[in-house]
């Protein structure tokens, strides 16, 4: 793997829109990625192994729940800071960012938003410190884009709930101590339950042979008559809106994260195009390569503006789910296209592990699919602007 020479593009001086604190947050995350992620990530991705030491690193820099208040172990930072952290981590690898996203937005966020004070105190500090890792179970083998059709269910057995069902494509599942599981009660209403490793009947088999997010662990959650204590129900929100609220937070992070992956591909391709000589001149001097690079920086700049504006809206509590959906879809699509074009600029070198591009490219195939597929996000925008529901 080549040394990490990354320099972030800022074509429109967007740094002027950030506070000094935002820039310090970004620099800290960037420094950490350069020091602890870039040197090792390719090897782990090649081996399809999760780099476990990353957990303590992510916890140490404060990437788990950066916007959760300090009293629960978070840092109390704003949404733009959270976005910048996700951007920098995904600049290193989408799999590592997924680990951090899930912990922050899909585990800590629902406990903080929908949980009791006791649940917050019990789980959040341990999740912030990385002592416990969490995962989020919504998708099922037969219910991906249509989570409302889920069959995982729980029955009230007086002093406990009895949980049955299965979840699939769950990041962090193989090592998580805590799972936020969405299941229907006897009336068919969706609720969140906190399931802990060790509960009888709960298992988490790992999903192998992925060609994407190879440095992140994915698995299933299987519930076979799991007795869940009643105090493990998240009481403050139910219905499909509860898990979708978590997804808003995660998708927002992805909208930023994808910019990181795109910036890394662009930066690599730009540098390569100035060094690689063909026909007696650097390939960056050829019009077709310049077209690719010019389009990349344009798209990155647009995506940066989108993410920043969305961050401002989220800080004000005004971002709608549809706005978040648009940014997730646009920015991931932008990144996957840039990864592909950047790979071509590098020619044969682009397919090797010497450079990060192919890894980003493969990772982004998951990112464009999870947390709402590209197509579903188009339908969300479609519904928002026409008022006509294409899902049903």
């Amino acid at each position: 793997m080549k040394p990490d020479l990354f320099e972030a593009p800022d074509y429109y001086n967007l740094d002027e829109l950030l506070s000094d604190e935002h820039k310090l947050v970004r620099q800290a995350a960037r420094d950490w990625v350069k020091r602890d992620v870039s040197p090792i990530i390719e090897e782990y991705a090649q081996k399809a192994e999760f780099p476990e030491q990353i957990i303590s690193g992510l916890a140490e820099i404060g990437a788990f729940g950066p916007y959760i208040p300090e009293e629960y172990g978070g840092a109390g930072l704003d949404q733009i800071s959270y976005g910048l952290i996700m951007q920098e981590i995904e600049r290193g690898d989408s799999g590592v960012r997924s680990t951090a996203s899930v912990q922050s937005s899909l585990v800590m966020y629902p406990i903080y938003k929908y949980g009791t004070e006791e649940q917050r105190k019990k789980y959040l500090p341990k999740l912030a410190s990385g002592e416990w890792m969490g995962c989020f179970g919504l998708t099922e083998p037969d219910h991906g884009s249509n989570p409302g059709g889920m069959t995982t269910n729980f029955k009230d057995k007086g002093d406990h709930y009895l949980l049955n069902g299965a979840k699939m494509w769950i990041s962090n599942a193989p090592f998580a101590q805590v799972a936020i599981v969405w299941a229907k009660n006897e009336e068919g209403r969706i609720h969140g339950l906190i399931v802990e490793r060790g509960m009888e009947g709960f298992s988490t088999p790992e999903t192998h042979n992925k060609w994407s997010l190879r440095a992140s662990a994915t698995g299933e959650l299987i519930f076979d008559n799991v007795k869940v204590p009643k105090e493990n129900l998240l009481p403050n929100k139910s219905g499909l809106g509860a898990p979708l609220g978590c997804l808003d937070s995660a998708r927002y992070g992805i909208a930023w994260g994808a910019i990181g992956a795109a910036m890394d591909c662009y930066d690599t391709a730009l540098r390569y195009s100035k060094e690689r000589m063909q026909f007696g001149k650097p390939i960056g001097q050829f019009q077709l390569q310049q077209k690719k690079l010019a389009e990349m920086i344009t798209e990155i700049t647009k995506a940066q503006l989108l993410a920043w504006r969305l961050g401002v809206l989220r800080n004000d509590g005004k971002a709608t789910s549809a706005q978040i959906s648009m940014a997730k879809r646009n920015n991931v699509d932008m990144a996957i296209n840039i990864a592909r074009e950047a790979r071509q600029i590098l020619g044969g070198m682009g397919i090797t592990g010497e450079y990060s591009i192919m890894r980003h490219s493969m990772n982004l195939e998951s990112v464009i699919t999870y947390e709402g597929t590209h197509d579903i996000h188009l339908l969300i925008t479609g519904l928002d602007i026409t008022g006509l529901n294409a899902f049903q």
């Binding site: 320099e7 000094d20 604190e21 820039k23 310090l24 947050v25 620099q27 800290a28 420094d31 950490w32 020091r35 140490e60 820099i61 404060g62 990437a63 950066p66 300090e70 840092a75 109390g76 930072l77 800071s81 952290i85």
Partner: protein
């Protein structure tokens, strides 16, 4: 123990250097600034003294408001308090005079500076501060232990090391070796958040005229084209007849 760490706000080593105003001013446009690396080794050592020996750590910088992010980073890493002396850092002597004033007023036991800053590389400030406040001075310091008011310092010398015993108050010109690069700290998010509420006091400068003034800057001539040679004989011939170095 009360420690003052002097922090220079310098361009990152990867910055592209340009000058403006007929080559008399450094062009800061698009330049990213960092804590001077020699100072960062010192700051990291100071954090060790804070954590292991209960020292109080203040950081100080001479410069305009644009240098505050650098001080905030030092606070995020763990310094207790920051002081910014509100005047541009012109030459070594004027900076040393400002720092000496703060060092004296604050009654610090240990003043840690960097051996030199990586922008103008003057390498004069810590020595001058020591003289101005009447403290002991160890330059090119690559190791420091303090017990009570006694200090053991290791100094880098040509081809080796020198171990010195001295006493507080002490000024050092620190560098790599005080801690290693792998010991340097990346501020974490909680530290950054806490830095918000730590004091960053802006102090007006004392009278100190610069003793030197910049007339102009000049960049090194660009490197010439590389010539590839096929044989040792040709190389010897070129070195002898063209480069005239052998």
């Amino acid at each position: 123990m009360k420690i003052l760490v002097c922090i220079s706000h310098v361009p990152d080593t990867t910055s592209k250097i340009n000058f403006t105003d007929s080559d008399t001013k450094f062009d800061t446009n698009g330049v990213q600034f960092v804590i001077n690396p020699n100072d960062e080794f010192g700051l990291t050592r100071a954090m060790w003294f804070k954590e292991k020996q209960g020292a109080t750590v203040h950081v100080v910088n001479v410069g305009g408001a644009e240098t505050e992010p650098t001080l905030r980073k030092a606070l995020a890493i763990g310094a207790d308090e920051a002081i910014r002396i509100n005047t541009p850092a012109t030459d070594g002597f004027s900076v040393a005079k400002q720092l000496a004033n703060v060092a004296k007023e604050g009654g610090y036991d240990l003043v840690i500076g960097g051996r030199e800053s990586i922008d103008y590389n003057g390498g004069m400030v810590p020595g001058m501060v020591a003289k101005l406040i009447g403290a002991n001075f160890v330059n090119t310091c690559i190791g420091l232990e303090v017990e009570g008011d006694k200090a053991t310092a290791i100094r880098e010398i040509d081809g080796g090391k020198e171990t010195l015993k001295t006493s507080l108050p002490l000024v050092i010109g620190g560098q790599k070796g005080l801690v290693e690069e792998s010991d340097l700290r990346i501020p974490n998010m909680r530290g950054i958040m806490q830095a918000r509420t730590k004091p960053l006091n802006v102090k007006e400068p004392v009278d100190a005229n610069a003793e030197t003034n910049t007339v102009s800057f000049q960049k090194p001539a660009p490197k010439g084209a590389v010539k590839l040679v096929d044989s040792v004989d040709e190389l010897v011939n070129l070195l002898h007849n063209e480069a005239k170095v052998i």
